[in-house]
Symmetry: D5
Subunit: 145 residues, 10 copies
């Protein structure tokens, strides 16, 4: 199911015992973005590709496989994996409220999913640690013409 290059990258990373946080330090890019390159949802520059490959001990001749623009998306309309589904459910439940609040704050338009960053942080909490996901996307107002 995963592209061959993704499997190669994941295996090499596991072999090296490196986490995505380690790669963040080695490459100078966020761990989520690097994971997106692994899963072929983002495209790296030649330099970034080489840094990633070197860090996990793969030949840099594989770089072109990380620099080309991928065909993106998971595919299945409704994801069955519970972790991924929760984000889908959040939109099912909070989608309309979110739309109302964003329109009230910004007018008619959308949050870009392209000029966009996504961070994951661990919030330690005695009642149970929390996953903090921070999304930041440029607001794009609908153009009139």
């Amino acid at each position: 199911m995963l592209p061959e290059i993704t499997q190669k990258l994941l295996a090499a990373k596991q072999e090296k015992g490196m986490s995505f946080v380690d790669l963040e330090k080695a490459v100078g890019r966020d761990e989520v973005w690097i994971a997106a390159v692994f899963y072929r949802q983002a495209s790296a520059s030649q330099a970034e590709a080489e840094k990633i490959l070197s860090a996990i001990g793969l030949p840099t001749t594989l770089a072109p496989e990380l620099t080309e623009c991928p065909l993106k998306g998971l595919g299945p309309v409704v994801p069955t994996d519970p972790l991924i589904y929760r984000f889908y459910e959040i939109m099912q439940v909070y989608g309309m409220p979110l739309k109302s609040v964003i329109h009230e704050k910004f007018g008619d338009g959308i949050m870009s999913a392209i000029d966009f960053t996504l961070d994951v942080e661990k919030e330690e909490d005695p009642k149970g640690d929390r996953v903090k996901v921070i999304m930041s996307g440029k607001f794009l107002p609908y153009k009139k013409w």
Copy 2:
């Protein structure tokens, strides 16, 4: 399409010229959560329901319609509204990377969509304001038995 009570609430709010931020101050709850009550995706306590209704000039006898547990969810499998779709697309593109990073940081489990908060902030930016969406959900490790 929207439930009758939602339409009543939205019309009264518009009549009063109140924003969800104004309601945040009046009710003491976050604007997104209040909007979720409006769209019948969240249930208020009797006191919260009365505060919301008073703030927008509706009779508090409507409170039971805001306190009962709603049947949640938007319904359509793939949302066609561009603003809502972008969040769906984010999961199509960054779902697997996010899963990998969360598992690496927390082990096998999920981010709760129930013990969960969602905030929207406006980040002013000379190159174009940004929408910041902050999700915080308790990490729930898979139980073994």
Copy 3:
């Protein structure tokens, strides 16, 4: 199926015998965008809404119904109307080639559907007139972080 306000607008326009091109002159916005306001896919400013309503002889008190941010999209996953389907088919057939050519010209990113205009022109042709559809959207490169 069409929202009530859309039906009212279309009926008044027909009564007045006005075309969307006539409205283009009266409002100072493109006919396609005005039609998008009619079908509640775009939101007008107060001034634009009043111009549209006056032009077709409806009271300007309806303006708020044209200024609020609509829930957008046609809904059906595969449109059955032959005219609309052809555009869907064009993407089925030319989607991948288009993606390749755009990536080659611009790098990894997308054409915005928000900072976007759409024009329709009639090209007279002795072998049969042609429909010319011109789309212009800002290129948005994928952000790295």
Copy 4:
């Protein structure tokens, strides 16, 4: 996922360091149409096939694979790739307005997707370059009988 011949063509083109624009010059056909032949959505003549193959250094014995009539279409009902999805979204949002305007200009009928051309241009713009997509299809009026 891509047909074997498509993979061969793309690899040879990359090897040669040729863009679709370069092929446009070598073959005398538009870059988008040539890309459509690559992705097996269009069929070339024997002469065109040979020019394409020679230009990217593949044996002309492969020509029959480019001249036969392909089974067309992407397949997935709703594309998940963000670039391709935007065109789908454009029809979700502007489909009905477009239909109204075309009917007003031409009467009952459709824009052909067969007697049809598609061009992509880069519009340089200091506020960010724009993707211009120009579609031109013969208007086909519904026949009565």
Copy 5:
């Protein structure tokens, strides 16, 4: 489910005891095309609309409802009515063979569904009458550019 105007037309026709063949004579158009106007899948000229309405005893003031360009299509992806389903099944079974034979006879292109006529005839046969359906559509070769 059927549009209101369709119901009115069918009721008036039944009242008058007229068949579509009778209307064919009165209007000078084929019975199938007239039925398509009834079901709002085809648009009549003002003169045709008036002839149809007069023939079944409805006021000609309803003509605009027959002249406007309809939103076409049945909607359900797979029809459940057995008569309609059989045509769908014919394409499931004979679609690829038909495609091969048409390409062999005409080259790459399609049979138009717009510049198209459809006739139904009753073939009397001692072993059981047969339904003969004759489709005639202009061949449209794929344009190259």
Copy 6:
């Protein structure tokens, strides 16, 4: 995607430079039906299978693969190939009119898709050749019991 035997048959036919019309002469069956055997949508008798195989230069030991009853149907719910889709669209648009006319002519029942023949003819026309598709199916009245 195509069954292995179909690929073998198509390759051998291409090698021999034979069209389905040539096979029609060699086998004494219609070209569409022969194509249906190729695509494994119809089953041949032993004699027919041997004639087909001999005509295209394949060993007659393959006959059993053409005589067994196939699992029929294309599979995808909505075909994306434009040529095949047009027939699907014809039913979307003309399905209900066709149903009305057939019921008026024959009573409640269906046109058989089993006791059924399908022919394709080329109608030469100075304004562009036309594809003529003739379907003939036994009318089957609904049994009452």
Copy 7:
């Protein structure tokens, strides 16, 4: 959800305290077929319609609503009612074995669902009564041409 005429028929039948078996005696047709007329899946003759209506005490002026050819089918792709689903499941499980056995007994063709009868019987059994469903459909061999 049920057509208005179906609701009227069911209510009148309940009022009269009649079962479908009682109607079988009054009308001279099988109870399942009569139920199919009730649910507008089968069309009655004028005489049959009048017998049904008289038996349950409804005016015979409603007869045309039972004689016209209905648009057939339940609609939902996968039925959720457990009783109806079981028949669907039977085909999921025994569909291929049934196909093999029928082809072995009859050759390539199908069991008609039109020249078809369906009976339900109650088999008394000390271990629990059994539902016996007997289907009888004409075998239709695939025509060759």
Copy 8:
């Protein structure tokens, strides 16, 4: 598509020139049930598996592949094979009538698809042979608690 063991069984049976009726005699089970074992929709006992394998000349060491509990079901939501589809259509058309009649005869409950038998018989008929399908399932009343 068919499981490997199914292909092996079908090939061996064809080699031996045995029909399912012949196997019925050799194994002492109904031909439909034996076909269900072939298609891995039913599980045999060790003794039954050995009888089946011996009868068609396969080694009895394959028995475990016929005794394990299979993952059942055809898969596709709406079957495209015409023979199998007819049974699906029968439920689309006669599902509600059948439900009414069964409830009238038995009360609220279902016909079991597990404590269930299915027989196919050939009814010779001068007007064309008929396929008789007899289903017998235990009636299961809904439990109250």
Copy 9:
């Protein structure tokens, strides 16, 4: 969305301030089963219907609406309500393991969903109360014939 009778029952119950547990005492049936009658997924006897109606202060003339056999099922293929979805997810995740364990313990067959009871209990727990759901269904072995 909910049937009218369900809305009436729920409103009367709320008016009376009764819980389903209170009804369990009044009717002598489990609260879940009574709720199933409310939502028209189960059918009551005349006596049970009258007890339910009396308990919540509705006229017993409504009893027939609770005794007839309902058309069962929620409808949407994948439920979007988070509480209901979790049970769907449990089957996505634990469906195959459950199937293996049940087959190992019982042989080939299923757990009946008809001869079936469902109970909900509250397990108090200092780390957070737990929902205990107990299902008990008769094991039905697959019949051989």
Copy 10:
């Protein structure tokens, strides 16, 4: 269809003649949870993985394949296997009643499918053994913010 590691595990377990109950004793975890590890729906600790592998005679070097966090879920939207489908049907029929009862007992929230256990027991019963399925999930109240 099953992952390679699942096939290996199932084959080794069959070879050893061990049941999941035997593994429960060897590993000290419930048989359902162990089956979930087999089907790669749950992740084991290094120690648990080694115990499982040793118990069925596989090398412990396979442990990493059992400790990594799997992509969970069965995939098909509506399961066709009768045993698994019954649980889906239970939610179709008893989903809304269950939701009502849980909300009444616990307030607005859900039963966790993560902090969750699932047990299967065999209840011997002279009228036929019963399958008892016990689910226990932590109640998670919706957070307000």
